[in-house]
């Protein structure tokens, strides 16, 4: 399965791993990390919006979260998704 990553596990960051999903399977997001409880909904929303803006309909995202805010999260999701579409690794 093709995957791509962006980000780090440092404070105020997150490590996003994007994996290819079969066409029609939709967007599937999992997340884990410290102090995540109160941001779960917000993280989901930002990740989904970012993917939708990029026109991505089917992908599996795994987010290892360490306090990234919306700005950082969006950049990491975009970078991982772009690498998945464009990259060969």
């Amino acid at each position: 399965m093709k995957t791509a990553q962006a980000g780090t596990l440092e404070s105020m960051d997150c490590l996003v791993t994007a994996s290819e999903a079969e066409k029609g399977k939709g967007i599937f997001i999992t997340m884990e990390g410290s102090n995540i409880a109160r941001f779960r909904d917000s993280i989901l929303k930002t990740a989904k919006t970012t993917l939708q803006e990029m026109g991505i309909k089917d992908v599996i995202l795994s987010i290892q979260y360490n306090g990234a805010n919306d700005i950082v999260l969006k950049a990491r999701v975009e970078a991982a998704a772009k690498a998945l579409i464009g990259g060969d690794n």
Partner: protein, 291 residues
């Protein structure tokens, strides 16, 4: 003239520093896409830097981005992503000849016009990290109106000089003096390279005192803890402030009386001296940044 005593590098793939670096109140921040970013992270860092530039208020700092070298496949992409985000300038590594600047100038102009940015708004700071770059310093500094600062390299320059780091950085004395000379001749700011031992506060203070004395206007910074020390060195003494106040006051009075010449303590004072005095007060935080 805007203060450039401290230009703080912010690693381009580090959200913590990108978002909070300006809080340490350097005169400028340099969001770095070059040396501090691993090859595999170039794309992710570029996206992150773009998002940070779009969303973070840097609180009055001069905002520049260090792009990847003109010999890499990244530099054009770097420019395309960051210039539309409202930055003040580009810091470009390993400049060796005026031709490099012409190439960069052209690319920047194109992006400016595509994004309705006034032509010439984006300034350039040139890093001279080879013997050839240092040798061409004046011609590089005058190759484009965009160039407003030149800066000698550190480790790369040492390597190119076929030498290594010494306790006193003796090996960089010549290149530093050449950069200062070329910069002032070209009317751009000479800015010094970083001091890399981030725990040696006393060493940093000594080096900063020296580079200030030989004519540098500021220093690149790799750790926030270095900022207060450098500011302290560049802050004028009480005596300098008193003298500067006298000169600025005299100039003001002369202007009010419609006099062309300014005199302080019975001596005539030239216009550049008045400007210098204003700059002194600005560094002391007693005058708002002009122009």
């Amino acid at each position: 003239m805007a203060l450039r005593r401290t230009m703080l590098y912010l690693p381009g793939n580090n959200p913590n520093m990108l978002i909070r670096g300006h809080l340490f109140k350097p005169d400028g921040v340099i969001l770095d896409l070059e040396d501090s970013v691993a090859l595999s992270e170039k794309d992710a860092a570029r996206i992150l830097v773009r998002e940070v530039l779009k969303n973070i208020d840097f609180g009055g700092c001069e905002v520049t981005v260090r792009i990847n070298g003109l010999d890499t496949p990244f530099w054009k992409k770097d420019l395309e992503e960051v210039i539309p985000c409202g930055i003040d300038g580009i810091r470009v590594p390993k400049v060796e000849t005026p031709k490099d600047i012409e190439l960069l100038d052209e690319a920047i102009s194109e992006i400016e016009s595509k994004n309705n940015i006034p032509e010439g708004k984006i300034q350039i700071t040139c890093l001279l990290e080879t013997a050839l770059g240092i040798w061409n310093a004046y011609h590089i500094a005058t190759a484009s109106k965009r160039v407003t600062a030149i800066c000698p390299g550190g480790e790369d320059l040492r390597a190119d000089l076929k030498t290594s780091r010494s306790e006193t950085s003796e090996e960089l004395v010549g290149p530093r003096r050449m950069v200062v000379l070329a910069a002032h001749a070209a009317k751009v700011d000479p800015l010094d390279t970083v001091f890399s031992d981030i725990t040696d506060d006393e060493g940093l203070r000594r080096e900063t005192e020296w580079i200030k004395q030989i004519g540098f206007q500021g220093k690149s910074v790799i750790h926030p803890n270095q900022i207060p020390i450098i500011h302290d060195v560049f802050t004028p003494t009480e005596k300098e402030i008193a003298q500067a106040k006298k000169i600025v006051q005299a100039a003001k009075e002369a202007a009010e009386k419609g006099l062309g010449a300014v005199s302080v303590d019975g001596k005539m004072v030239d216009k550049p001296v008045v400007k210098r005095a204003e700059y002194t007060l600005q560094k002391a935080g007693l005058l708002e940044g002009g122009e």
